[in-house]
């Protein structure tokens, strides 16, 4: 069975993140993407536009020394939205992170992602890791 293009794109974006290929990753996002990060930690809040978003990714990679790894568990998609359930693991200052994130996003008319919600199942653990 051929994969839905949304599923292929989601998988390709995770691969790009894991190998640190930020220029490949940029292609998936609309210029005016809005990214919502929940929780009560230093990185919580909204990121607006591709530049802000990639500055956030760079911070995340720097804070974890490049150890942050995404492992997709399920990818769901429709015409307008995609969701990825993924295991997120990483290390930082002797702390380890091992949670499931649900990333839910809106697909724009040109196929690029316009709005993102990054939702953690165990928010307290995520807050402690990034604070």
């Amino acid at each position: 069975m051929t994969e839905h293009p949304g599923v292929e794109g989601a998988r390709a974006s995770i691969d790009a993140f894991n190998r640190g290929d930020m220029s490949a990753l940029r292609e998936f996002y609309a210029d005016d993407v809005v990214w919502h990060v929940g929780g009560n930690h230093d990185l919580s809040g909204d990121y607006r536009g591709r530049d802000e978003l990639f500055a956030y990714f760079a911070t995340v990679r720097e804070m974890t020394g490049g150890t942050l790894t995404l492992e997709p568990e399920a990818i769901l998609t429709s015409e307008d939205h995609t969701a990825i359930f993924m295991k997120v693991s990483g290390e930082r200052d002797g702390k380890t992170l091992d949670v499931t994130l649900a990333e839910a996003f809106t697909i724009g008319p040109d196929g690029r992602w316009t709005e993102f919600w990054s939702l953690a199942d165990d928010q307290d653990t995520v807050d402690a890791f990034w604070s």
């Binding site: 919502h36 568990e73 399920a74 769901l76 429709s78 939205h81 969701a83 359930f85 649900a102 839910a104």
Partner: protein, 131 residues
């Protein structure tokens, strides 16, 4: 994925909630459900079990004065996962709310809702409304 039986179950559940059939709505949760709410407001935190979740939804109802309108924007599902996008509007004498929410669920073997967490596009608006 949008017409998966688990997606159709969510559509029916939202209809029940909106028609005031709280018992019918709550019957979709597993007995040992874990319901997680982020942010900084009166509804924030983890609720365990269907009874606690029922109280959470009744306090939601009370806070909105029954004025809320929940529109199901999209739902994605497979056997074990579900993400629903909702537009939530509510009006009270002193406040109003209009947000788009992404709500992730882990499903039990029978399709019941075992674990859930959600995030709004404007968390501050949610915090103000439910504070």
């Amino acid at each position: 994925m949008t017409d998966h039986p688990n997606a159709l179950r969510m559509r029916r559940a939202v209809e029940r909630f909106m028609s005031g059939d709280m018992e019918g709505f709550l019957s979709n949760f597993a007995d040992d459900v874990v319901w997680r709410t982020g942010g900084h407001n009166a509804l924030t935190g983890v609720r365990r079990g269907r009874d606690e979740v029922g109280r959470w939804f009744r306090s939601w109802d009370a806070k909105t004065g029954g004025s809320h309108m929940i529109e199901l924007v999209d739902v994605l599902a497979d056997e074990q996962h579900l993400v629903v996008f909702l537009r939530i509007k509510a009006d009270r004498e002193d406040a109003s709310l209009n947000v788009k929410v992404a709500n992730a669920f882990r499903l039990g073997p029978d399709g019941s809702w075992k674990e859930s967490w959600w995030l709004a596009d404007d968390q501050e608006a949610v915090d103000r409304f439910f504070s």
